[in-house]
């Protein structure tokens, strides 16, 4: 069993995920408006999935990193002792704790926003977003908050996570390794090489959550180059596969229940909606990859939507404060 915080019931956790996912969408929309562009559909598809991972699935300790993101300290090199990774936002490394590997790093803004909502980053952390000399990069790299490896050349993170999982097994550590991936990454051969290696080496401490939003840069994946039937393909490779509604926090959580003691990697295909929570975006389909507003009128319409989301959030927060006491966010270990 995945030990969740014993003080909060499944119902409370579900509500917490929903509240935080809404806040993540709102924050990503804010920044998409502020910069007149952003990876907004990725927030819509993955908000519940990422929030569920942090709140209900991964056993992470408290952040070890400053609330205000550190400035860029130079690239890794023998003569640069100052280089760091952003993994310490996900807590300390310890044998019994899980590790999180974030692969589709163009989702960085979604992760930063989630870290803010979880209190792992300060509320103003996004002031540094896409600023010169900052680690809060548009496309995350290993120095970016919440990131541990450099993954922007997609489909490379899963293999690195495989190495980390193997190392942990060699050390006899009970902690697991979780990888968050996009569905586009299943077009790269490397992803399949990774699954072949994971199952061949019976790596049973690595779980992959896939944001299957059926979208990529050029549009609908079915049109660009299909990866379906994904579940059957993954099963044929020897993974334990679950296919769930990616906005259903209970289903996402259940898929990971008890995982970590077997000898097969886990793949959870989270079927998601790239417009969830921002209905208006549907008119842009099939081009949802990067949202840039085309007219003043469109900008204003999204701005109105932001005000509405803020108001809803405020009233939901007021209600939840009276209903329950605060639990420690994102710390389910």
């Amino acid at each position: 069993m995945n030990p969740t915080d014993p003080t909060s019931s499944g119902n409370e956790q579900r509500q917490q995920v929903a509240r935080i996912a809404d806040a993540v969408r709102r924050r990503v929309l804010e920044h998409t408006l502020k910069h007149n562009g952003g990876y907004l559909s990725q927030a819509c598809s993955s908000a519940e999935l990422l929030a569920t991972l942090y709140l209900r699935i991964m056993r992470l300790g408290p952040s070890q990193a400053p609330l205000t993101p550190r400035p860029f300290a130079g690239v890794p090199a023998a003569d640069n002792p100052h280089a760091f990774t952003g993994a310490d936002y996900n807590g300390p490394k310890a044998p019994d704790l899980d590790r999180f590997i974030f692969s589709p790093v163009h989702y960085a803004l979604v992760l930063y926003s989630l870290l803010i909502e979880l209190g792992r980053l300060g509320p103003d952390a996004l002031d540094a977003f896409n600023r010169d000399g900052s680690t809060v990069e548009l496309i995350g790299a290993e120095h970016s908050p919440g990131h541990e490896v450099t993954a922007g050349s997609l489909a490379q993170a899963i293999s690195q996570a495989g190495g980390i999982a193997l190392a942990r097994r060699l050390r006899g550590e009970p902690g697991r390794v979780w990888v968050f991936m996009s569905d586009g990454e299943f077009q790269e051969g490397q992803t399949w090489e990774a699954f072949a290696a994971l199952t061949h080496h019976r790596i049973g401490n690595l779980g992959v959550y896939i944001d299957a939003n059926a979208q990529q840069c050029d549009g609908a994946m079915d049109e660009v180059s299909t990866i379906e039937p994904l579940a059957e393909r993954l099963r044929a490779f020897g993974a334990e596969v679950h296919e769930v509604d990616g906005h259903d926090s209970d289903a996402l959580t259940a898929a990971a229940e008890g995982f970590g003691n077997g000898d097969r990697p886990l793949a959870v295909i989270a079927r998601t909606d790239p417009c969830r929570g921002i209905e208006r975006m549907r008119e842009r389909a099939p081009k949802l990859h990067y949202v840039r507003f085309k007219s003043d009128a469109e900008f204003k319409a999204y701005e109105q939507l932001l005000y509405k989301m803020r108001a809803q959030e405020a009233s939901a927060n007021a209600a939840s404060h009276t209903a329950s006491s605060q639990t420690t966010l994102g710390h389910t270990g």
Binding site: V75, A77, D132, L138, G140, E188, C217, D218, S225
Partner: protein, 336 residues
């Protein structure tokens, strides 16, 4: 003032391919980002979406080329030269197939960070036998690429520019294969620049000329083969030495090719290579990175001071004030 052209490759590709049914475009999920969307919409039967799977795309291009087609691969430069390197070397370059690889986001022109910045692509491609390498420095170069690449008997890698591209050279003076553009003549220094560094260098050379430094400035768009006799002549005629300036690592690119050439021809002069000094970059704006990594006009001024041994009173403000008109090549008639 310089004219800026919006998406010159996009329109040029559509126009150029109209009467060439043997030309195909292959894309790896970056179609609009690489300005191939116009082609896709105009000639859907000649456009092939291969998904985010660059290694496989190289093989498909090789097969199509063996069958007589001319595949034009469009993706970011890093996803041509890093991920599918073995495939392009063995499937395409070894059999000398006429695959044209159009690579976007050269060097530090992108804020996408280290995974999107092609700082080593010229070096990687130079060591591949049979490979031809072209690099665009302005809109005229961009629009010349298809004609020049198509005339090559073998694989071609094009370091291409996208989006808003300045027109530095007259639209009716297309790039000539294997020939540098001579932008100025002088006998104190020789400046060789490529890609976006040429515009930056022009800011500095204008200011340097005003200080009385006489410069031969050549814009290099054919990086391989690198045998233009104009380059040797300009180097030989430069009293104080040579500066090579590129949006790339100083290892393996224009500066390195220049050093090899000087050594082999026995031209004993100092050479300063301006480029990324064996260090990865990170995500930030182009101007910021050009300053941080010393690829800007001021870096060229410092190099000129070093070579001439003469402190030049040129400030950032002086460089910022330089206004660039459209350049006529100093001598268009020089033919080799």
């Amino acid at each position: 003032m310089i004219e800026t052209v919006t998406r010159p490759h996009r329109d040029n590709l559509v126009r150029w391919a109209a009467q060439r049914p043997e030309v195909l475009v292959l894309s790896a999920d970056l179609t609009a980002s690489c300005e191939a969307d116009g082609f896709r919409d105009a000639y859907p039967q000649r456009f092939f979406s291969l998904g985010m799977a660059e290694q496989n795309m190289m093989g498909f291009a090789a097969g199509l080329a063996r069958e007589g087609f001319f595949p034009y691969i469009h993706t970011f430069a890093v996803f041509i030269t890093r991920r599918p390197y073995d495939q392009l070397a063995m499937s395409i370059a070894y059999p000398n197939l006429p695959v044209r690889m159009i690579g976007f986001l050269p060097g530090i022109t992108t804020p996408g960070g280290v995974t999107h910045q092609a700082i080593d692509d010229v070096a990687l491609m130079r060591v591949i036998p049979n490979m031809t390498i072209l690099e665009a420095g302005d809109a005229t170069d961009v629009e010349s690429m298809l004609d020049v690449a198509q005339a090559v008997n073998g694989p071609v890698y094009v370091r291409q520019l996208r989006g808003e591209v300045p027109r530095l050279f007259p639209a009716n003076a297309p790039l000539q294969f294997g020939q540098a553009r001579v932008l100025s003549r002088g006998d104190d220094l020789c400046v060789l620049s490529s890609g976006i560094c040429t515009e930056e260098a022009m800011r500095a050379t204008a200011a340097l000329a005003a200080c009385g430094v006489s410069i031969s400035h050549l814009h290099v768009s054919t990086l391989k083969p690198f045998d233009d006799p104009q380059i040797s002549a300009a180097i030989a005629g430069a009293r104080h030495g040579v500066i090579a300036m590129e949006n790339h690592s100083i290892i393996g690119g224009l500066g390195a090719a220049t050093a090899e050439r000087m050594a082999e021809e026995g031209i004993g002069k100092r050479l300063i290579r301006i480029g990324l000094r064996d260090r990865y970059a990170h995500g930030a704006s182009r101007d910021y990175l050009m300053r941080e990594y010393g690829l800007d006009a001021m870096a060229l001024v410092r190099a000129a001071e070093d070579l001439t041994g003469q402190p030049l009173e040129i400030s950032e403000a002086d460089l910022a004030a330089v206004r660039l008109g459209t350049l006529q090549a100093a001598d268009k008639t020089e033919d080799l």
